[in-house]
Symmetry: D2
Subunit: 184 residues, 4 copies
């Protein structure tokens, strides 16, 4: 992951609204590991891989340890992936975790949080440590065993860790919808 | 399947428009077996089972023998499953076969073709024989081996067959989105 | 499939013993389609693909229409795939259909039936029509939809068919253990 | 897991021979997490779940961190699961990690290591921490995400940890071949 996104500042979301929850700040989750699943409701790889994995994480870990959030990062076909459609989608797919809508920027395709952290497309999984810092961004499919080990290591870190080295990424090579509009 | 839907009349579609194709009449396909996949773009079972199976049929059989058509039978959440959204969906999911939009009936949730043939929900697979008659409706998941055998038998029938007995249905017990709005 | 194996003679098994059944002659099954799954108990592709498919065929079709038989064609590691080991294997894997043991030929690796019909390795699926003639040999993985259609067409043939053209093979490209001892 | 098997002594193997490797003592692996996959070559659940998972662990982790070993714990059908058969099996299934053969005890069905640690059947996964102590035994299917997290936490422990609390087991409810001879 580009060094620039491993900011010295804690991770923050810039979103316009929330579904399944009142607004949540990442700061309020300090002490827990946070997994953010960035997706689009009409992205095939998000439906076949990204969201099912996010749901398994949501069900596997204790909420006091790992919190799963969705982030709807629409960067194409904005007209048909609005809030009403997303609400139906979350209901039909029984997504239970909180989902934020990445803030649209007038005149630009890519929304605010997606731009700030340089996401390459969807699905992307962002992993935030117990101190609120972004530690990895995984674009495309994610190996479950490697992801589990990564989360296990983050959970074993004391909060307020001073040194924060980028661990080996859990991202694989195969991606899905990239910003260039190619889905693979 | 209810006897009433095994009409003595050839099967016809009552649709408002077509994507991926100019309008097609079932009559023009006389001599071929026709498989119609009735789906909704936000029905999880359609995406995980129904449409992938329809695509496998489309790729497995010679087009002179078996023709696959999609039928978008929206019976819930009409506002977010309009023609524009469907067009994006077909492109993202790389659905290549022709897709018709079942004709909406003002003031009613269930569209015209879905009503006429008594479909119970989505996904439903309608199987039309070489003479243009509806032979089976399978609601929910479909066993691939049994479906293959069913199609093989229909292909072996001479066209203009006089006696048309309902064969054993290829439908299984597990269904997805029924008209009552329950998805399983 | 090599033309030479599409013999003008009906198909016959040359086997040394049977498990799960008294001896069965192919002739006695005249009128039914017969699917013979040639396998070795230590062939990974047989366990992951060949035998599960054979079991699904066994459970899907009426026994008066399609009969499934196993054929243990040991061509390597003979010492550890004897009859006692096979008996344990069939019990642990709950294989319920009759299984014949291809007759070993002293001094040769490849057993009798496997030699006669030129099988290339395991798993191989042999398909016999209602008149007792071999119609296809599929080596490796088999597409379920295409296989279903093939069986459906054979079931639609009147027995005592005079003209017997080789249909398009249901075999795919990917194979498992070939006679050269390579497993892929 | 029964408290009695969480011994105050380091874990040791009592085996008769090794395949794929010279003999290995658990003591020599001090500093690494060790995953031992207890299996039988004719146990269906071992082939479909246990061994593929062990192979994924073997390929996912750095060998300096996690070492995978197989343990052939034959407790039924001893005559057909001898060393020669196992050698063919490991070769056909391309099992690359070292495999030990649990020491048979004359006149008893259950071999030595299996008895000592009270294994309930196969597949069972034993997890040894960096100090050489047994921390969990998972019988049956294992959730990959939970297992990854468990290994990640063990890797984060300093070696020579003094307090060794039993973590929540990664074992699921569904098992395969239990000692009573039932396979599910």
């Amino acid at each position: 992951m580009p060094e620039s996104t491993l900011s010295t500042d804690p991770f923050t979301l810039d979103v316009s609204s929330w579904l399944n929850s009142a607004p949540i700040s990442i700061e309020s989750l300090r002490g827990r590991v946070v997994v953010i699943e960035a997706f689009q409701m009409l992205c095939p790889g998000c439906i076949s891989h990204g969201l099912p994995l996010a749901q398994r994480i949501h069900r596997t870990f204790d909420r006091d340890e790992v919190v799963v959030l969705g982030l709807h990062t629409v960067f194409e076909h904005h007209a048909v992936m609005g809030c009403d459609a997303l609400e139906v989608f979350l209901s039909e797919y029984r997504i239970e975790f909180p989902v934020a809508i990445d803030r649209p920027i007038p005149g630009q395709a890519i929304p605010a949080t997606m731009q700030r952290y340089g996401l390459r497309g969807t699905p992307s999984m962002l992993i935030i440590d117990r101190d609120g810092y972004l530690r990895d961004i995984a674009f495309g499919t994610v190996d479950e065993l490697a992801l589990g080990a990564y989360l296990g290591r983050l959970l074993a870190e004391p909060a307020a860790e001073l040194v924060r080295a980028p661990a080996e990424s859990v991202a694989s090579d195969s991606a899905f919808c990239d910003i260039g509009g190619n889905c693979t």
